[in-house]
Symmetry: C2
Subunit: 306 residues, 2 copies
């Protein structure tokens, strides 16, 4: 049950805030337009979007702003999984109503000692309550942050009960053996597997995966999307290696702050440096160091500045 | 800056749900009335209340139901800390407006690799935005669940900046050395320290603490509250030992499910067995085993059945 419009690369789009820490929908619209122009889809409200630092209302309003601005809902996979069943249902229902091709759904993540029975019940309740055949859920496996792994046995049960609706997974574990196991067991049923970093993009695509949903697609979208298109070419390994060089720079800093710093710099827009607590911008010395590292690579974000 | 009405024992009150998983305010009101009659305060929306499985609206409505039913707001310390700043601000403001003597505030808990600077900024934003001198915040240190410890250095900074408003802490780490360090450093400034289990109640009170906020205060409130009143008596050690026997039974099961099972049994009310996913009720064999263990103790919950 492939969702063609979501194949390839998506960015967990960083969320801009105003000086008084409100989400800034106008800046988000501009950023999303630039990303789509680079051939990157919109996994808004992800981990790197500070998605869980936003209220339900803020997420609804931002999604409305994007769709109302004619950004393509077919390229959207908003994060809709929260700790609270009614919030997850409401946001998911809204995403489907606005035409989003899929949703990326964290399990409820406050309690970490939960059973697969409990997680199955949680996803099942959401699916039944949303009650829409257009719903496409991408599970979100990021145990190092959520504390709640999505195990193979759970995927198997969900796929058996909700084929078509349970459409894929983002594997942010960084453990390619796990990604590979998901691909081997579930890809033949049309289950789309995305790796959580472009450092595994080529390997994922060669094993039949759908693409990647990666933090650094916020800053290096064109090159990552190019590899997703050209992965069968002779240059693929060299492209993959080049992506790794950029990724490695950002990985040395708190990721979200570093992404926003790069956007602020290349968009010539200081407002992008704001994060919502508990996250904070880079310290001045980190900022200088990131700048120097990017300069050494002659790194650029073409077309970002208006 | 002691809040006299909150000294002693509070229960993170278990939240009843209807068959279709909506919060059941009428049952919650009855349960809270019984707890107050046992001399136990109301830490609603805590970890054992499935507080983070409730939406903001549900928590507002439940709090309204309790206050409107004339339950004493002076005995209430609702959990108001969420992942998202605007939700935490709104719920905290509402709790203050409804007269709650304090609030128990988790740090934002999605990201676990946060700095003390980020946590300070988070609490500071909430305090500034609520902007009410009646606000009394009790910090919530439960790193094994939240993933976000409240370290001594953070408490020190918060107390220095917001004396009076930052009123105390619940230490659910289970590490009495940590509780003791908090007592030694901050109790002299009037900072109230609660342990997270009645198994440490006597030790906490002897070292100058305010009391405990404990899961099992939902089921064994009278005896726990008695120790909090009589801890200077010759029977205190024997009382503490007796509390441990009951606690030990419940600790063998998933705690929230076991608490609800006991309430269901002694209130003769099956509806109490419902949990909201991802949590689930006890399995039949666990239920039988808990029942047998409680029978062996001649355990009872006097006055719970109407």
């Amino acid at each position: 049950m492939k969702t063609a419009s979501l194949q390839g690369v998506l960015a967990p789009v960083v969320t801009p805030f105003t000086a008084d820490l409100r989400p800034d929908s106008a800046r988000l619209v501009r950023q999303c337009r630039w990303l789509v122009d680079q051939d990157v889809g919109l996994a808004v409200f992800g981990t790197n979007s500070e998605g869980n630092s936003l209220s339900l209302r803020e997420k609804r309003d931002l999604l409305d702003a994007l769709v109302d601005a004619d950004l393509p809902a077919a390229r959207m996979m908003p994060g809709t999984g929260t700790c609270a069943l009614p919030d997850t249902v409401e946001l998911t229902r809204h995403a489907v109503a606005r035409g989003c091709a899929g949703v990326l759904m964290l399990p409820p993540f406050y309690y970490s000692d939960v059973t697969d029975d409990g997680l199955f019940a949680s996803y099942a309740e959401v699916i039944e309550r949303v009650g829409d055949r257009a719903l496409r859920i991408y599970l979100y496996h990021i145990p190092q942050v959520s504390g709640v792994p999505i195990r193979l046995a759970l995927i198997e049960r969900l796929l058996a009960r909700y084929p078509g609706t349970v459409a894929g997974i983002k594997d942010s574990s960084g453990d390619f053996a796990n990604t590979k196991a998901m691909l081997e067991r579930f890809q033949p049923q049309g289950f789309d597997v995305y790796c959580g970093s472009e450092s595994l993009l080529l390997a994922t695509l060669r094993d039949g995966g759908a693409g990647c949903i990666s933090a650094t697609a916020n800053v290096n979208p064109r090159a990552i999307a190019r590899l997703a298109r050209e992965w069968r070419s002779a240059e693929a390994d060299a492209q993959q290696a080049a992506l790794g060089v950029v990724r490695q720079v950002f990985a040395q800093y708190p990721m979200i702050a570093a992404l926003k710093e790069a956007v602020a710099r290349f968009a010539h827009d200081d407002a992008w440096r704001t994060l919502r607590p508990p996250l904070l911008p880079l310290a001045p010395e980190q900022r200088a160091s990131l700048r120097a590292s990017l300069d050494a690579l002659a790194f650029d974000m073409t077309g970002l500045a208006e």
